[in-house]
Symmetry: C6
Subunit: 256 residues, 6 copies
């Protein structure tokens, strides 16, 4: 019933190996001697989203809703320093997904609250775009909401990143609570946790709404390109938004 | 003890295949060379409701109550833009059901709150008709209530469609709560959820009551036709209500 | 320790077959060529209550208490339009039961709150009679209380028949709660449910008390006949109360 | 650690058969040709309390405490109309029990709250005597408290005998709650239940205290006889208290 | 991490048999022809504490803390009428225990609250001594706290010895709660129980503190002897405190 | 996602044996005839942290964050009397850990609250350094928070070291709660426990912040040395801070 616009959390090494393999197969199947960019992108799609199913029945207005939802993700994540850099956005349906936005995976070793909040804001960018453009939201944001809820809960109850709950954790690395009875905190603490989670999420939703209202012309431009081409890449985004002003630090790899 | 007036959620492909098969068998059994409309309708009935049981003892006043209950569903769903379009209403008892209203299944890919609310209103149209006509309600609405309760709960706790609870979800796609203790929210949140569910449902019930009071003459006309014919179709509805003013967008199928 | 004055919920077809069989056997055992009314009534007793055990030690005052309890059920149910029509009342002990009132089973297809309330009032008629006559109640009403509590709970939490809880249900036809954590509602809702159940029951108890106080002479007359004869039938009731003023609608059977 | 002064709940038929057998064996062992009263009483002791263990180390002050505890039960139950009639009191230790009071079992078919309250008062008579005589209580009343707590809880939650909770029951004869989630009532109801149970028990304790204070001379007389003789019977009680003013109704047995 | 200064709850018959055996073995091993007092004491130590482990690394300040902790138990229990009479105190580490105080077991048949409170006070004497002498407490009192907490809880919830909770018990001799849902009381009662337990314990802690402050010179004298000799007996205590003013009633044994 | 800066709880005898073995192997592998200091340190690393993984991709700013986090632990623990003495700090990534601080294990037999609080302060020194230096914290403190939360909870609910909860324990040495229903305390007590845990932790965090602000120059000096050398030892710390002013009592070992 819902469309699931997925934001990938990043590729593992094994994923990348799979993609390379698949890309080679695609190129071979198409009689090419070299594996080009398109083969790789198709391979990525196939590994994560399953085979393309072009035969899904979709109405023009649904297509439009998906395009704006995905454009919302793309626009918000482009504008936020700590959100993962976007690679590709598609509205070709695949599996249960009606559209998807792909990001360059970042293996962060230390995560700061600013980064978590930016990612939550980007995840809420899909629903925010529906709200800003059509003034009506949908069930399509379910997986975004799940991601955001878990992130906010982790900030508050696991990583000690909420002022109100403070520098403690309800995480138990042993997998079994040590001195523990069923629930390790009181009802009052449960209420405080709920309020913190809610206020973190609503703040990011409001921020996403604000960002998209301030950049409504670009959001529209992007969504319309997406409707026309069905798949767009970083280049298309740069043409609309200009290059991102944030400098991303390089990781010192093993070869250095 | 209760009659279960069912609103079908729509047919799957497999269901349709079954119906075609069954229709062919019915036609053959009746010595026909072609499968006509009645064979199909009988097949639908058989697949979903089981064989007709005409031998159920039913009093005239019960029959009347069922007719008005079903006419209530039909009237409300006809009047609401986002409710599924009605195909057939019957008060021939079948299995545990004393009556039923069949709708054209709609495979919606994106669901908006407006659609959910219209469907809930239509589901409450049965009880609303009992109230409006006889000023007494019955246990016959049990399955309608179950549908409506689950829908409202999903809006609030799954799809993040309640302003008071906000853009979060208590859904866990992994099927096992990640950081989770038994109940993922506080008593206070539980209260808020109960209030939201209740206010969503009662608003739709009030809306159904209002719609039926404003169209009481048509409700009566429809119910009386139903009492007389026991089964009515879209045509009968159109004769009473005129055609629906809403334009339903076509889905672009795979053949396009 | 408690006497269980049972109000039968009605006979199934299989029960009736059993009774006929048993009645034939009883008649044969008594050397009769025909099965008469008494044989049938004895068969009913045997099927439901087990064999008569006349050897139970019972004091005269206990006998009196049982007689008034059963007469209370009979009187209240006679006076209420929607209570099931009474067939027989007995104070011959049988199994764990010291007395019983048998009703004509009614297979209702649609149940209205008025009917539920009348039946609850009749079920509370036993304890109400103890209260009205002796101004002291006993443990003998346990099974009546169980019936009444479950009925009231069902009205509130299953059939959506309480204004305060509204048109929702906590029933799950799938047998497993769908989005569910242990308890599907908050403490506040639990309180509301308790209050509704309690106020429904106490209203019917008060109504039963009122009915019996207004008809105390008839209650006494009935109980004294019962003490004398140990078993009474519909005829005896009609002699005391006159015929019931309510017209019960006939069911249209399969043969019609 | 605690002495358990037991009040027997009555003998079953099987118990009585056992006692007769045992009495015959005791008489035979003692070379008697007839079974006399003492043989029967010894048999009763053996069946219920196990063999006498005279070798238990007990201090004079403990003996005294036990005697007054048991005399307390005996005095209170003698004075209350609905308490079971006393047969024998002993302070000979047996098994885990340091003393015991035996009552004539009464198989009541209908139990009134007055009877329950009288029995609870008698059960609390042991501790009340400790309080009245020594102004200090002990752990020895544990089994009395258990009996009283269960009785009070049953009055409130099972038999509908509390005004505040009303004519409903949390008993489920099917052994599995029908519409049920874990706890069938709200916290508020749980509080009300606790308060009712507590006020029922404390009222009976206060009543037992009052009864013993008003009859302190007789309590002392009885306890001193008990200390001297270790076992006393109904006759001894009658000598001190006079015969009971209450007329107990005979049961009409099967032979009538 | 904690030192466990154990107060033995008393020896069973089997324990005593074991001790005699062990004492004989020790005497034999040491080439003695008779079993003397020391052999018995060593046997007691071995049965309960395991073999002496002199090789445990312990700092002088830790030794001092243990000595004062144990002297605290000894001093308080010497001063309280109902605390069990002390036999031996040791600060030789054994197993997980850094020190221990041995008492003459008393098989009490009737236990009064005064006795329970005195024993709780003595159990808290260890921590109280740490507080009085060093104004800092430690984790070493864990087993004392466990004993005291369970005792206080039993007074309140099992033996009906708290005025606020009254003459009822949450004990179920059948081992399975009869009418029972998970927790047999309300949140409000749970709070009351917590408060009662807490106030019982804190009163005894305050009493232990007071006793030790009033007898600080004797506490110091005792602790210093203990530090010097590592093991002290009843005689040493009597030399410091004089003989106990309380007369302990003899038990009338089976041989009497 | 998080870096885990571990504070070791100390080596067991078996650990030390393993380390010696491993050190001998390392020396042999490097063609040395004697096992020198570096071999031992490498062995320690290998036993606890697994093999060095120099190929982990880490950005300069991450490296810097890790260095300050570890320097924070080192600085705070150096300044607190009861914190375990530091041996080595490293920012060479190993397994899931990006850095680590090693301490001399102390087998304390008696633990005072002062020691627990100092250790909690040192554990929070990592996050405190992030806050003081960069004014932003990270997920890297997860294992520190877990340690601190468990310690604070143990102080309050196990060792009776909180004034507000008092001298009781919710620890059950038998491993199964004796009189116990699921949770052994009320909601109100649960709230009190939460507040105590929170206030203990936040006080130590504030203390760590204060200590680091007061010694910011030394913190920076230490972190910069660490960034340069990647591994530093007690000597480096002494060069920056001077020797610790606290005299640590020697344990009297078995050989004395």
């Amino acid at each position: 019933m819902d469309f699931l616009s997925r934001q990938t959390p990043g590729f593992s090494g094994a994923d990348i190996a799979n993609v390379c393999n698949e890309a080679a197969l695609i190129a071979a199947r198409n009689g090419k001697k070299e594996v080009d960019r398109q083969d790789f992108l198709d391979a990525v799609d196939r590994i994560i989203g399953g085979l393309e199913k072009k035969n899904k029945i979709i109405t023009p207005s649904e297509k439009r809703a998906v395009a704006y939802h995905e454009a919302g993700h793309a626009t918000v994540s482009w504008m936020l320093e700590h959100a993962a850099p976007l690679v590709k956005v598609t509205i070709v349906p695949r599996g249960r997904s009606l559209g998807a936005a792909w990001y360059l995976p970042e293996e962060r070793l230390i995560v700061h609250p600013e980064q978590m909040l930016d990612e939550m804001c980007a995840a809420l960018g899909g629903r925010a775009a529906e709200k800003v453009m059509f003034n009506k939201i949908s069930t399509g944001a379910l997986s975004d909401l799940e991601k955001v809820t878990k992130q906010a809960r982790a900030m508050v109850t696991i990583y000690g990143l909420s002022d109100k709950i403070g520098n403690l954790t309800y995480y138990d690395s042993s997998g079994q609570s040590e001195y523990g009875f069923t629930k390790p905190y009181s009802e009052q603490t449960a209420e405080l946790i709920d309020k913190e989670i809610s206020s973190i999420i609503e703040a990011q939703y409001a921020r996403a709404i604000k960002l998209l209202e301030d950049n409504k012309d670009k959001l529209i431009e992007l969504a319309e390109v997406l409707l026309e081409k069905e798949v767009i890449f970083k280049d298309n985004l740069e043409k609309i938004f200009g290059s991102r002003p944030f400098i991303v630090e390089d990781r010192e790899g093993p070869s250095k």
